[in-house]
Symmetry: C2
Subunit: 150 residues, 2 copies
Amino acid sequence: MTRRTPPSPGERTPGERTLGDLLTHTARTLRRRSMSALEPWGISPHEARTLRVVGRHEPTRLGAVAEHLRIAPRSVTGVVDALEDRGLVAREPDPDDRRATRVSLTPTGRTALGELDVARAADHEAFFARLGERDRATLARILGRLLEDD
Amino acid sequence: MTRRTPPSPGERTPGERTLGDLLTHTARTLRRRSMSALEPWGISPHEARTLRVVGRHEPTRLGAVAEHLRIAPRSVTGVVDALEDRGLVAREPDPDDRRATRVSLTPTGRTALGELDVARAADHEAFFARLGERDRATLARILGRLLEDD
DNA sequence: TATTGTTATACTCTATAACTATA
DNA sequence: TATAGTTATAGAGTATAACAATA
């Protein structure tokens, strides 16, 4: 039987959409916004995210980047390649383990990261503006909860 | 409001992650879960979502499906093709407008949708379980707010 | 002229598996 | 044997632009 339960106070979601749909659509809307916001730099949201992770942990192993981004090692190769092609990050051999590779920001990458952070902050500000401080904090708490034992 | 400090570039949320990162990661986690949950049916989350939209509005024009899913018309063609190939939906000419095409569920599609709804409900229940009724409602409210004038 | 949907094309993000070079 | 990263390959999801048929 199709789900046609009358709107119960706790469960009703606006627009006949499930929590999952809402989450999916919100994330996609954000991604689209970010793509536009990042257009001047010719960089994708995923690449920008990776640049931030590298900047926060440099010099860092590729495997560590994968963990921070929660993506497969294979996927790191691609995005780091893209960033390296643009001269934003550089690979170097890990002195402690010759199997491993470390990545760091280049001077260009550091400059770009600074600019991107400003742009991202502005864009997030615009997107999350309507929420107000309190709802933002609540949203962060709830999402953090959902990711807890990731 | 006394709180006027603007979120500085690089605003951080718990775990060194921005609200945007949290949203992105949560949505991706859910998508991965859904992919696994839907595996027995050989159907993707996107396809399942489309099937639900069709089921809720059938018979409905392809353009309307695009609006409900908030995707480009071009993208509807692909996903409806996939569903039609599996015999879950059927295209038919719109009697009122010969440019338009309508889609409806097939009997097979209707059965599948019922099963999928149960599976989805179970999976969402598992994913959102740790939140509790109140946080779920709050999350729905906040996300709904972010999508408001979409 | 405007709208409906399709074809053609391409980009972003992600995964698994097999391989290499180390450890 | 196990780990770090790569190559090879694949698939999901989305977009723009040009077009044909119809309004």
